[in-house]
Structure formats: C-alpha cells, structure tokens
C-alpha cells in the first residue's frame, strides 16, 4: 500500500520518459538505423529553415489558448448562472451524451453542419438563400482556426463542466451562495465572487489538460483546422509519416518544439491566473452587487446550448448519413434511405467493438485500482502530495502524444517487449490514469474524515473503513472517474496504432482509417458505434448510484 504511489508513477512516467528519450535523440541527430550516429544540430537548423514554423507555432498557441479560455468562460457562466435550477438539471442530463461523442466524430458532425454545403446551408437553400450550388466560403478550415476552436470548445465545455461538478460539493457552494445572496449579491456575481475562487484551484489541472490537448490535437485539427499551414502538431504527424525517412529528424525536432510551446502556454496561463486573481480581488473588494447578471447567465446558456446543439445535430447528421442514399446539395434530406451501409459494414463493427471494450475495461480498472491505492496510501500514511507529484501525474496529458509514442514503440521493441493488446492496455493506462486520478482525487480527498475518526473510535480497521464506508460513499465519483477513463481509452488513436503494431484494431483506429476516405456513411456508422460505447459507460456512472443510493440523496452524485 505504501508503495502504491511509487508503482503508479513508475508505470506512468517510465513509458513517458523512455519515449521522450526516443524523441529527443533524433531531434539531436541520433538515430542509428537512419545513419545518425553522432549528435548534430542539423535537425534544428532544418526546422528553423521551414518557412511555416512561425505560423504553425502561432496557430498552435492561439487556437489552444482561445479554445481553453472560451471553454472555461462558458463553463463558469453556466455554473454561475444556472447551478441548482431546473434548467441545470436538464443540462446535466445532456452532459453524458455530449461527453460520449469522440472528438473526431464531433468534429466531422460539426464540419457537416457549418460547411457552405452543410446541413444548415441545405436547410435554408434555395428558398431563403437562393443558392443552388454552395457558395465558395472559407468556413471550415479557415486560416485563423476559428472552426477548430469552435469544435474544441463544444467538446471541452462538457468535460470542464463534469470536472467542475465533481469538485463543487467540497466547496459547499450552497452555503457560500446563500450568504452572498443574503448580502444582496445577484446570482452570477455572487457565484463568481464567493464560489469561483474556491472552485478554480480544484479544476486547475483539468484546465491545463484542456490547454495542452487543444494545442497538440491532431484529429480535430485535420478535420476542422486550417492546413495552409496546419497547426504544428499536424505537421509533426505529417513529417513522421513522410516516405523520406530522414524527415524523422525534423519531425522529432518539431515534436520537442511542440512540447516547449505547451509548457510556455501553461506558463502564460499561470501568469494570467495571477493577473485575474489580483483584478478579481479588487473587483470583490469594490462590493458591486452586479446588474448584468441575467444577461451573463443567458450568454452562458446560449453558448452552451449552441455547442451542445453543434454536437448533437452533428451526430444526428452523421446518423442520417449512415442510412443515406445519394444526398446532394441543396437537399435538406437524402433522396432515399437505405440500410446498405449498415448491411455492408455493420458486421465489420463486431470485432473492433469487442477489442475496444476489452482494452477500455482493462485499462480503466487498472487505472482505478492504482488511483484508489495511491489516494488511500496518502490518507493512511499521511503522505502529503506536493505540487511536484501532481505535475508528474499531469505529464502524460501535457506531452503531445506524437512526441513520445514513436520513441516508446522503438524502445518496446528494443527490450523485446511483446507488442499487442497487452502493450496497448498499458499504453492506454498512461493516458487514462491521469484523467481518472484528476477526476477522483478531489472527491476522495474532500471526503469528510470525521467518518473515519468515528469508525476508528468504534474499533473498525482501516481496511474495513475503506471498503465499507469510504468506497461506498464515493460510489458516484468512482463511477464517474471510470466512465471518464473509458471515454479516454475509447478515443485513443496513436497509442493503439503504434503499440498495437497496427494489429490491435479498435473502433477508433478503424474509424480514422476509414475517415481518410471521407465517406460520410461509414464515418457516421463508426461514430455512432464509438459514441454508443462511451455513452453506455456514462449511463452506468449516472444510473448506478441513483439505483444503489435511492434512499441516500446526498450520495447520488449530484451537487
């Protein structure tokens, strides 16, 4: 038990550091199989000579920062304006379906909605717009990355909302808000001044995760992002995949740069936090009770509704495509429906679906066990997790996957490790564990220790306290963490592809391979299958505690 944190960190950071070494070496010119035997600065020079370096790096920074800031703003406004209202409970129910949609599927759906030949334009043409052929407008893949930012925000708001809801109960928001309102503060202002400062530190790591993810995302960027040039991460993948194998050197150099950019952005964000904290204190001291509150609450709801609609209608569009016959512009609906696609490709879903479930379940269980062991060890032995260990935990979410996975693959082969399902599961744990830990640590640590004290006073052993009191009381957050873990695992593409040597085929690897062909019918089919799988996890996470704790209102996992 005492060793749990050490074991966890080894499992988490071992692959990471090994993979990074495998990236850093080629970035410095060392890659024996390609004739790079001594360190050189040539890859660095080649990278600096690439004319797209500045715009690609700038795009990575701007899209990442803007997407994160917008996601946080929308999340905050929803929480401030609507928590504990009937509308909020409705939004809460919409949350898990939204979280269930994999990023790539959501991006495809949104792309089909907003494109000049997309569903919105079709619905309005030609009777309103007069368009008989789509206008030549650069909406999707715009050079500023706005479409990509929209896609990211739509997916990250539900994630941040979930994280905020998980963290919220420990801050006793009702009490703070009641006091604030008794002092005459309006709802949103009161929440921002009294609750937000308590909540923010508890969701800081998820926010950094969103920032790092948004900056280095590949699949969403390919679908919605600009490509003249593409954000840096996409370019890294392109170089990695270049037939000219010597491009691996420059790719590794760019991967290292991507890592530095992410670190810099987090630093920038941290400074922003301090600035906001200073200004916020002044704002709180001034004591304004707020007058724009209803407007702010409406803006939050509007933005949230828009992003939810984007995902849900996008998914509906893909579902319709999966049964569409020919569907040309400007028809709002396909000319006929057919189950040809399902009949042809449906049977192909079975094997990858099984593989996906096995891998997600194994990786999530392992991550959950390690997380609980760590947290319990922390509790029993009074280990105080420093900021450093949190950062270590955070490393896998902070380092772009493309920066360390190829290096890791080489290393696995070097030590003769069997690649295949086992390696994929371990690889998934690296990414699943931080999310599970991040989503569970708050509620676990926030658990009222007086229960343990009372139990101990009655002579109950620590093990019994854990299994019979703490764990059951934390059922809702544990299941939420598991559902998040499953969602993360189902969405993994690169680790599955690289560590599985291409032989482990999940719904995601199949979907991405098929997506390169652009047939919306097949994309729709696989997107639905992926979504269904994750949705099942969230449904269980929400449903089970309600069922088990039907007579224990406070344990049902709703704040």
């Amino acid at each position: 038990m005492r060793l749990a944190p050490t074991v966890t960190l080894l499992l988490l950071l071992g692959p990471l550091l090994a993979g990074l070494a495998g990236t850093l070496a080629p970035a410095l010119g060392v890659f024996p199989a390609l004739g790079g035997t001594r360190p050189s600065l040539a890859p660095l020079h080649a990278l600096l000579a690439w004319p797209g370096l500045v715009p690609a790096s700038r795009l990575s920074l701007t899209t990442g920062l803007v997407a994160t800031a917008l996601s946080l703003a929308v999340t905050t406004l929803i929480m401030a304006g609507w928590s504990n209202t009937a509308a909020f409970r409705w939004m809460e129910r919409a949350l898990s379906p939204l979280l269930s949609v994999p990023h790539a599927a959501a991006a495809f759906g949104i792309a089909f909605l907003i494109a000049p030949s997309g569903w919105i334009a079709r619905a309005l043409s030609p009777w309103l717009t007069g368009w008989t052929q789509p206008p030549d407008l650069l909406i999707v893949q715009d050079p500023w990355g706005m479409a990509m930012v929209m896609g990211l925000v739509a997916k990250e708001v539900p994630f941040l909302l979930l994280m905020t809801m998980a963290a919220l109960p420990q801050t006793m928001p009702r009490r703070s808000l009641t006091v604030a309102q008794a002092l005459g503060y309006c709802r949103v202002t009161g929440w921002l001044k009294a609750v937000f400062p308590q909540v923010y530190p508890r969701i800081r790591l998820p926010i950094y995760a969103v920032l790092a993810y948004s900056m280095s995302v590949v699949d969403v960027a390919i679908i919605l992002g600009p490509n003249t040039p593409a954000p840096l991460a996409v370019q890294v993948v392109r170089w990695m995949g270049d037939p000219d194998l010597s491009m691996r050197f420059i790719a590794s150099g760019a991967a290292v740069l991507q890592l530095l950019l992410v670190l810099a952005a987090i630093g920038l964000w941290r400074m922003g936090e301090m600035l906001v904290a200073c200004l916020g204190r002044l704002w709180i001291d001034r004591g304004g009770r707020g007058h724009l509150d209803p407007l702010l609450a409406l803006a939050g709801a509007g933005a949230a509704g828009l992003s939810a609609a984007g995902i849900l209608f996008g998914l509906a569009g893909l579902a319709l495509w999966s049964v569409a016959g020919f569907w040309g512009f400007p028809d709002a609906l396909p000319d006929r429906l057919s189950l040809d696609g399902w009949a042809r490709h449906g049977p192909m879903l079975a094997d990858p679906a099984t593989e996906t479930i096995v891998i997600a379940a194994a990786a999530t269980l392992l991550a959950l066990a390690l997380t609980l062991a760590c947290l319990e060890a922390e509790h029993r032995f009074g280990l105080t997790p420093g900021t450093r260990s949190l950062w270590l935990l955070y490393l896998p979410l902070l380092i772009p996957q493309i920066a360390f996975l190829p290096g890791l693959q080489t290393l696995a082969l070097l030590v003769g490790a069997e690649t295949g399902r086992g390696a994929v599961i371990l690889g998934h744990v690296v990414f699943v564990l931080p999310y599970v830990f991040l989503s569970l640590a708050g509620p676990f640590r926030g658990w009222d220790r007086r229960y343990a004290t009372v139990a101990a006073a009655m002579g109950v052993t620590q093990n019994r306290t854990f299994w019979q009191i703490r764990l059951p009381m934390l059922l809702a957050p544990v299941l939420t963490a598991a559902a998040v873990g499953i969602a993360v695992s189902v969405g993994q593409y690169l680790p599955t592809l690289l560590l599985g040597a291409g032989r482990v085929q999940t719904l995601t690897t199949e979907a991405v391979a098929l997506a390169s062909g652009g047939d919306r019918r097949v994309i729709g089919l696989f997107a639905l299958a992926q979504t269904g799988m994750v949705m099942l996890g969230f449904a269980l996470a929400i449903g089970l505690p309600r069922l088990v704790w039907a007579n224990r209102h406070a344990l049902r996992g709703t704040a």
Binding site: P32, A33, L34, T37, G52, P55, A115, P116, S117, Q133, P134, D136, L138, V140, Q141, D142, P143, I222, P226, N227, T228, P229, R238, M240, G241, D242, P243, D244, L245, G325, F326, W327, G328, F329, S338, R344, H345, M348, P406, Q409, T410, L411, L413, L414, L497, A501, G502, R503, Q505, E510, A513, L514, A515, S516, G517, G518, D519, R520, R521, V522
Partner: protein
C-alpha cells in the same frame, strides 16, 4: 549501450541476408509453409470498396491454401514503413509485425534504399507468367525505380478527371484549357493538398502538359535544370491558385475527399488515379449518376500498385501466396469489375486462355468508366525525386499562406 545497439543491428543484418527463404521458385514448399500462417496485410483502409475486396481475397486464400489474412487498415502507408523501420532500429530482424504492404513510389524507393525489403521474389511467382511486362512497363518500374522482383504488381492506375455533366457538360481537356476554365469559373476546382500523392500527381500531370521535352522527367531532379523546367509550372499555379476552391486557402486532404466535395456540389471537376473510381462511387450512392470521366489530350500519368514483403516479415510464405492469388486472372477480373473495385488489370490479355479472357470481356465497366481504348496514352511516372521536390516547393509557395 550505443555500441552494443549497433552491433546487434549489424549481426542481425548478416543473419537476415543469409536466410533468403522461402524460395518462390519451389512453389510447393511455399504452399506447404504458408498453410496455417496468418498474413498481416498492411494496406490503406480509406476505401470501403478496397476493404471489401481484400476481405474477399482473404476468404479465398483461407479456403484454398489455409492462409489467414488480417487486413491492417492504414490511414497512411508510411505507418507500415515506420513500423518496419522501428523494428530494424530495435534489432528485431525476425518475427516482424508487417507481412505484406500495399506500396509504390516513394515508400518503395525508401524501403528499398534502406534494405527494408525481402526478395527478390515477385518474378518467381507462378502467376507472373500472365503479367504484361511489355505492354505495361510500369509493372517493373515503380516511379522509374526498377522493382527487381522486390515487389509484385497487382493493379494498374491511370490519371483521369471526373466531372458532373449536369453542371459542366464540356470539361477542359488540356492543362492550359483548365486554367482558362478556372478563370471563368472561380472556386469550382481543387486538388488534394501536396504532399498527398494524388495532389503531387496533379502537379506532375500539369508539368507534363507544360514542358517541351517530357523525357527530362525520367531523370532525377539533381541531374536536370530543375528551375528552368518548372518555371512554367509555377507561373501556371500562380495564376490558377487564386481561382481554386476557397481561393487556394484550403485544400481537401485526400483524393476520396474530393468525391464528397463533388457530391456536395462544391466542385465541378476533380482528379482521380483510378479510372473506375467514379463508377464505383456512383454504384455506392456517393456520386450522382451524371458524373463522367475523361482524360487530357496528350495522355495522363499511369502507374502500378505493388505488394512488398518486409525483410523481417513473419509469414513470408503466406504473403507470397496472397500476392500470387492477387495476380491470378480470377482476382484480377474481380478487381476490374467497377461494382467491386474498378482497378485496371496488370495482366496481358494475350497471355490468358480464352476462358480466362472471357471473365474480363464480360465486365460492364460502368457508366462513368472509359473503355481501355479511350484512356489514351499512358505517361510514365517521373523519377521519385520529382514528387518529393515538387511537393516541397509547392508547400513553400502555396502551402503556407502569408
């Protein structure tokens, strides 16, 4: 550590070159060894038609030879090349994860150059006798690089353009005509973004239409006056790019993505490397049935798709059995059927028996497919260095918007 690492690789290389088995000349031994093997066939998985065809071929070799085929669906062939490279780096010279790769062009050149391939084996396959080496020189010259038996051809491809006759009844038939048409109809044409192979192929095709002496394209770019030869191409693109779809500020990322753009009515004209692709797409409701194909005056670029076996493949015998099956008249005729795949055959009709030929003659090539005699002259692929260099220079000029 580093020295030991190098030693391991060196030792393994010696070991692998010594063991050049199985030998396809002794086909019975190959069949015996192949039985019970599982072949991990790494092939691009972006086309459902291709995936279905590979599944069919896998079922056939399973029934006939006891060889199991697992189609590893790649989104990029380079992933498989990376995999083999990673294995070589790690000194895993046996028991590799990749048994057979669908490959050509620069990927083949890179693998051959880095000694990542097993062989030669292809010209000893029993069905090699049907291959049309004289009529289709591309089957032994992959982008001018001699294959030397290190890969076996299985499909012919030739550049065609497709257009929707409902919107564009008379498409331009020359590169110069294309520019004039694009100027008159801005925003209605695009091509996949280089370095996508089809996008790069468009650049090469345009170059063919603009150079005086196409024979220079057979030489490596270092051996010719690259700047002078490509100058007309860049001035052509300088004029064309602002008239492209989205004014050239965004591009489709793959060839099949153009099918969707055509179906969405966003473009009127697109390039394809498969004469039967449009017919197959119509059959699958992906394109309206008013789409037709055409070729440019003076001919279009043609090449072959190949199968190669990595030097460290686990199931080399099984891989050869699959490659040989894909060369059989039966598999070739099925591949040419536009309802199935619509790929051109690599076989010579003259070398087939009347019975074997009948299967090809009976094919209805589909409403959008040109019959072989209308496909026009086939221009050979330029040396691979052209693709690399053109894609690089295109990216520097147009791929990074200011």
């Amino acid at each position: 550590m580093k020295r030991r690492f190098a030693a391991v690789i060196a030792a393994a290389l010696v070991a692998s070159s010594a063991a050049a088995t199985p030998d396809p000349a002794d086909w019975d031994a190959v069949l015996a060894e192949a039985e019970g093997q599982t072949v991990y066939f790494n092939a691009w998985g972006g086309s459902t038609a291709t995936n279905d065809f590979i599944a069919w071929a896998g079922a056939q070799v399973k029934d006939r030879y006891g060889v199991t085929v697992e189609h590893v669906k790649l989104s990029d062939t380079a992933d498989a090349v990376s995999r083999v490279l990673a294995e070589k780096t790690a000194g895993q010279d046996q028991g590799g994860a990749v048994d057979l790769i669908w490959i050509n062009g620069a990927n083949f050149a890179a693998m051959k150059e880095n000694d990542l391939l097993f062989g030669p084996w292809a010209e000893d396959l029993p069905n090699w006798k049907y291959v049309d080496v004289e009529g289709k020189p591309a089957v032994v010259n992959d982008f001018t690089v001699p294959t030397e038996g290190f890969e076996s051809p299985w499909a012919m491809a030739q550049v065609v353009f497709y257009h929707d006759t409902a919107r564009l009844p008379e498409p331009p038939k020359t590169i110069a005509g294309l520019l004039d048409w694009a100027k008159a109809n801005p925003g209605r044409f695009t091509f996949p973004q280089p370095p996508d192979f089809l996008g790069t192929t468009f650049l090469k095709q345009a170059l063919y239409g603009l150079v005086d002496d196409p024979s220079v394209l057979q030489k490596p770019v270092d051996a010719v006056d690259y700047a002078a030869i490509t100058a007309p191409l860049w001035s052509f693109l300088d004029e064309l790019t602002p008239k492209l779809w989205r004014s050239g500020r965004a591009y489709p990322q793959t060839g099949p993505r153009q099918i969707q753009l055509m179906a969405d009515g966003e473009i009127d004209l697109a390039i394809s490397f498969s004469p039967g692709e449009a017919s197959t797409a119509i059959a699958n409701h992906q394109l309206p049935d008013t789409v037709r194909t055409f070729v440019l005056e003076g001919g279009t670029i043609g090449n072959a798709s190949f199968l190669a076996i990595p030097y460290n493949a686990t199931a080399k015998a099984g891989a050869m059995v699959l490659a040989n099956f894909l060369l059989s008249p039966e598999a070739q005729a099925r591949a040419q059927d536009p309802d199935i795949l619509g790929y051109g055959t690599v076989l010579s009709m003259a070398r087939l028996s009347a019975e074997q030929r009948a299967a090809f003659d009976a094919l209805d090539l589909g409403i959008a497919t040109l019959p072989p005699e209308q496909l026009g002259p086939v221009l050979p692929e330029p040396h691979p260095s052209w693709a690399t260099r053109l894609a690089e220079d295109w990216t520097a000029r147009y791929g990074i918007a200011p």
